[in-house]
Amino acid sequence: MSADAGTSTNTGTFTPKPGAAPLGRMIRAQAALETRMLLRNGEQLLLTVVIPTLLLVLFSSVDIVDTGEGKAVDFLAPGILALAVLSTAFTGQAIATGFERRYGVLKRLGASPLPRWGLMTAKTCSVLVTEVLQIALLTVIAFALGWSPHGNPFAVVLLLVLGTAAFSGLGLLMAGTLKAEATLAAANLVFLLLLVGGGVIVSLDKFPAAARSVLDLLPISALSGGLRDVLQHGAGMPWADLGVLAAWAVLGLGAAARFFRWE
């Protein structure tokens, strides 16, 4: 590599030597970049870190919402973990991807050596890394608030992974079909609605039976309910909730794969 390209005229600096980097390196680089973009974005941090943390601390220490029998934090922590997954895999990913599409980032990456599936893999890795950071932070805070979780850690991981798949599919479907501004508005609205109506901080027992039978089928209800069954009540595999999440994952990812438009 010539270092004096700026001064000399015929150094062969640009002599073609094309080639793709190894796939693993490309995906790692892409995932690292996407994670940095997310952690640098103030609105995203508000959504993924500040709001879940505030809700957990506030409602665990001040008796505002009815958290049923036992310690408030034992009820709230599983719901807030579900909210963390919702905020990153759905809302955050939908908004970020919507604007990447709008500003031609996806289009430009489409002309790079990174294949599309590699890009989607990198996005998933970035979501998972962010979730690990969120869950670590929220778990530490919950323990500080006196949380005593039960249950099978494997069931918890399975719920979180299937929840991530379900919300990613729905978020990408939204980002790949709506305008960026519409995605921004809709993703925030859905976040708020699911926060209230998805068993995150308000028990679904508070809703009328008719509403409840519908709300129970939402991915957020399955995730928060499943996590609560395991972590608060020490239940075994929450098969029904896992089934609901798997169904949403198949539907969401399938529809996203079918309808996603890159520009």
């Binding site: 600096t13 073609p16 980097a21 640098r40 050596p113």
Partner: protein, 323 residues
């Protein structure tokens, strides 16, 4: 000497490996009822610098984006480095560099960060620091992409197109909106690419850009190539020189033509601006000024000019290039 006008390209295919870098035949691309590209033929020789010149909406970007694999042709065929840009995308993409007309970068990314990232997707990238210096991108500092000036965004996009050491780069209006200094920095880099053996296809609606840089110019209008050749070939197609002047509108050009040699022509381009073409020599210049004196016309801004691509374009299409 190659043919200036399309439609009579050689029928014998070149030997393998020596085929053109880009070969577009009969390309048609429609968006709904609108036909953006309408039977376009374009051939780009390896190692050449080809300018695709035309007004906005002529079909330049659609043509280039079809070559980049973003669009499927509705009819016709496209071969880039001997490959089908859609079917062989995985093989083609590492070998080409793409500069989009706008965007392509994360709003929150810094220039050096995005360039380093693009470099990391390639096996043998250029030295990022060298490229940053060459294109004056140090001035971007730690500023996020969305807060960079239009010119800085353009230069970053150019850097991203070349950092992977491609064989062929597509630059879509690389100097649109650049100040003269940045424009010349871009031109220098583009010239050096060609010198080092990179095939360059650039679109532009600046005729001076095409004239200065290109080995080969394809003039596009309404989705078709209406002329292709070197700037010299294209300009030779018209008069050797032209004489322009301004005066009051609607002068009686018929009486001027009577005074001029038989092979001359005179037109009123826009009200009050005139162009005389033909064999422009000192005698003709004197004839015109004498005629002006006789008619009480002060020939404002009188100038003898070389025939330019702009004139060629105007003659071929009846339109101003930057209209």
């Amino acid at each position: 000497m190659r043919s200036v006008f399309p439609g009579d390209s050689p029928a014998v295919p070149p030997p393998p490996g020596r085929e053109p870098a880009v070969e577009v035949r009969g390309l048609v691309k429609r968006y709904g009822a609108k036909t953006a590209v309408d039977g376009l033929d374009l051939s780009v020789a390896r190692g050449s610098l080809t300018a695709v010149l035309g007004p906005n909406g002529a079909g330049k970007t659609t043509t280039v984006e079809t070559c980049e694999g973003y669009r499927r042709p509705d009819a016709g065929s496209v071969r880039v480095l001997g490959l089908d840009p859609v079917a062989d995308a995985a093989a083609l993409r590492p070998r080409i560099g793409v500069m989009l007309q706008s965007g392509g970068v994360y709003a929150g990314a810094r220039a050096d960060e995005m360039l380093r990232h693009t470099a990391s997707l390639h096996a043998h990238p250029l030295d990022v620091g060298m490229l940053i210096e060459r294109l004056g991108l140090e001035s971007c500092g730690r500023t996020a992409y969305r807060r960079l000036s239009g010119g800085q965004q353009q230069r970053l996009s150019l850097a991203m197109a070349v950092v992977g050491r491609p064989e062929l780069v597509f630059l879509d209006e690389p100097t649109a909106g650049l100040d003269p200094q940045a424009r010349h920095a871009t031109w220098d880099l583009v010239r050096e690419l060609r010198q080092d053996g990179v095939t360059v296809v650039l679109t532009t609606h600046y005729m001076d850009e095409a004239e200065t840089l290109a080995d080969d110019v394809a003039i596009i209008d309404s989705g078709k190539v209406i002329a292709q050749g070197s700037p010299e070939e294209l300009c030779r197609g018209g008069a050797e020189n032209t004489l322009r002047f301004s005066g009051r509108p609607a002068l009686d050009l018929a009486s001027l033509l009577k005074a001029l040699p038989a092979d001359s022509a005179a037109v009123e381009l826009t009200p009050g601006t005139y162009r005389v073409s033909g064999k422009i020599d000192p005698q003709l210049l004197a004839t015109v000024t004498i005629w002006c004196a006789q008619h009480g016309v002060m020939p404002d801004r009188i100038a003898v000019e070389r025939h330019t691509l702009e004139d060629v374009f105007l003659e071929l299409t009846g339109k101003e290039l930057r209209a």
